[in-house]
């Protein structure tokens, strides 16, 4: 299709902290053992791209930067309906912070050539900075729409709304553009990928994937290895410690007669030195 859009969706593989596997009793994650999944926010980004492609035509390239097992998220994305998957995998990428990650992903996007829209999730559940997207946009020299809630496309113009504190902004921009997709952008009824099962069937034939999923390294995307990894990262994690547990100090009321329990509770609260009764109307 001649006017089809070329879209890149950036997806990251993250530890699944909702599964008990690999989560230590104290709540810390054993990254080696943890079950892995697509960063949940990135699924919304992918869903948005699929909506656009289904309406407008075009191609969806998913890109993930990570170690070889991250190829699993590309498989999954193809099952959902992405067209091609690229794993940017290179040992020299290890320990990249967001600035370095954004540099590497920017090179990967350039490698795909003439991308009209780059979609990212709002944030990751492990890195959780929400800054990789805007930093890629800065490197590309393109505008971004962060916290994007709705979008309409006319030709190469994107009309969108984005969330701001206490409201929304309506924006208009010419492609190329980077969009970080708010989790409220995808309607609940669409949050399950309707076409999953259909495409899953088609991909059961492993050979069908051979010309759809590719692994590329830093040299192939023409990235400068001194700008990634430990060497290319301006920040390091200096020290970590557990968040103080206030556990055990909670005064819990329970019993067969709720009215009585509530009376006891409010009586305690009214004597509490933190003084909240002044706000009762």
């Amino acid at each position: 299709m001649s006017d089809g859009l070329r879209m890149a969706v950036l997806i990251k593989q993250v530890p699944d902290t909702s599964s008990a596997t690999g989560v230590n009793p104290d709540g810390t994650v054993d990254r080696a053992r943890a079950k892995k999944m697509i960063n949940p926010f990135d699924k919304f980004a992918l869903q948005k791209a699929i909506e656009v492609r289904n309406a407008r035509g075009g191609e969806i390239f998913v890109i993930s930067m990570g170690p070889p097992p991250a190829i699993a998220v590309l498989h999954e994305a193809l099952e959902y309906g992405a067209d091609k998957g690229y794993l940017l995998g290179d040992r020299r990428l290890a320990a990249s912070d967001t600035l370095a990650t954004a540099y590497a992903l920017y090179k990967a996007v350039l490698y795909l050539k003439d991308i009209d829209i780059i979609f990212t999730g709002l944030q990751t559940t492990d890195g959780d900075t929400a800054q990789t997207g805007p930093q890629i946009a800065e490197r590309m020299g393109v505008p971004q729409i962060s916290y994007c809630e709705t979008m309409e496309i006319e030709g190469k113009t994107v009309k969108a709304t984005r969330i701001i504190d206490g409201g929304v902004q309506r924006l208009e921009v010419e492609m190329p553009v980077l969009i970080t997709v708010a989790n409220s952008a995808v309607k609940l009824e669409h949050k399950r990928f309707a076409n999953v099962y259909k495409t899953k069937q088609a991909l059961r034939d492993k050979d069908a994937l051979a010309d759809k999923i590719f692994t590329v390294d830093l040299d192939e995307v023409e990235a400068d290895a001194t700008r990634v990894g430990l060497v290319g990262s301006p920040t390091v994690v200096g020290k970590t410690w557990k968040i103080g547990e206030k556990g055990g100090s909670c005064k819990v009321f329970k019993g067969a007669a709720p009215k009585h329990e509530v009376e006891l509770l409010v009586d305690e609260i009214s004597k509490d030195e933190r003084g909240v009764m002044e706000f009762v109307l």
Partner: protein, 350 residues
């Protein structure tokens, strides 16, 4: 004179409305500046914002750079980016530290400024400090060494109940965004004086590629949550949007109260996102936080654990919220909430 350059706070303002996070950033910056023996400077960008610089000075800024131009009437990534970069580059030396709010604006703008200067940025900090750092890693010999008076950017490492201290002493500015509600604001002093420096920015055509058609704000609900003294929040335990009737009803028993929610209630479409409390919502610190049918996941907790008093209502005795609430009641929220309202009212003679 200190060997360090100053600290810069980028004011968070939308259409002339200075956001509360700005005062908190100034509070944090003033403490850091004192430790370093430097000054707190602020940048404010917008249109018709002549009332703001003075407010910034009253709240801790020693010098304010003002870019007041019609092009900046609405917040837009590219024009604000240009203005901020122009001001920072006009300084004789890069600032030691730059702080922004971890708001929808700050998180849009700060990463671009950091990438432009090829410097580090730590997102969503809950604490900031100054300290020394010894880098022993051998992987990159250029980085090894002892660094004094670096920015300690401290943030929760989510899903992992950890806090992490992030450092980036190799390059100035060292940048961080701070979450609303996390830092203590500077004590306002209307007699404080400072320098106001107007600046003019030359925009490039490419800065207008992103057009803002309009900004629509529903100011009240949002400000309420950040300023409220009492917050009643509802979670997935409400069972549906009508559950928020119960939440609102209980909230109506208190003055200066507001309605909050967990993300699961927002994701379910029961209440707008602006009510969400937590990691991806707002950080609040009311005097009383009442959680109805909220389990107390870490991502919710980080947004409300600074509340002076937390009262949880949950039918599951083993819900994690009972680990950190001050008071709890095990039972059905639909039964308990109306009883609470009645009892609170009774306890206070009219």
């Amino acid at each position: 004179m200190s060997q360090y350059t100053n600290i810069i706070v980028i004011a968070d303002q939308i259409q002339g409305d200075l956001r509360p996070v700005t005062m908190e950033l100034l509070g944090a910056a003033s403490e850091l500046a004192e430790k370093l023996g430097v000054k707190t400077h602020a940048i404010v960008m917008g249109s018709q914002i002549s009332h703001i610089p003075e407010v910034l000075i009253h709240n801790g800024a020693d010098e304010v750079y003002v870019v007041d131009q019609p092009e900046l009437k609405e917040y837009s990534t590219l024009t604000y980016r240009r203005a901020a970069i122009t001001v920072i580059e006009s300084l004789p030396k890069p600032p030691h530290i730059i702080l922004c709010g971890a708001t929808t604006l700050g998180r849009d703008l700060a990463p671009r400024i950091a990438a432009y200067f090829e410097t580090g940025l730590t997102a969503d900090c809950t604490e900031l400090d100054i300290g020394d750092y010894v880098h022993k890693g051998k992987a990159d010999p250029n980085k090894t060494g002892t660094f004094n008076n670096c920015l300690y950017a401290i943030r929760p490492s989510f899903g992992e109940s950890l806090k992490a201290r992030i450092l980036g002493p190799w390059k100035n500015p060292q940048m961080a965004t701070a979450r609303t509600g996390a830092m203590i604001p500077f004590k306002t002093d209307t007699t404080r004086t400072g320098k106001i420096t107007p600046m003019t920015v030359k925009f490039e055509d490419s800065d207008f590629r992103l057009k803002v058609i309009e900004t629509v704000r529903e100011v009240s609900s949002d400000l309420d949550l950040l300023k409220a003294k009492v917050i009643v929040s509802g979670g997935f335990g409400l069972g549906g949007p009508e559950g928020f009737e119960v939440v609102r009803d209980l909230a109506s028993a208190f003055s200066e109260s507001a309605v909050g929610s967990s993300r699961k209630a927002v994701d379910s479409g029961w209440i707008p996102y602006s009510h969400q409390v937590g990691q991806t919502g707002k950080t609040v610190r009311p005097r009383l936080y009442i959680a109805l049918g909220i389990s107390g996941a870490i991502q919710h907790r980080v947004g409300m654990s600074n509340s002076a008093m937390i009262l949880a209502v949950n039918k599951d005795e083993s819900a994690p919220i009972f680990q950190f609430a001050h008071y709890g009641i095990v039972g059905d929220l639909f039964e308990i909430a109306p009883l609470l309202k009645e009892q609170f009212k009774q306890a206070v003679p009219a």
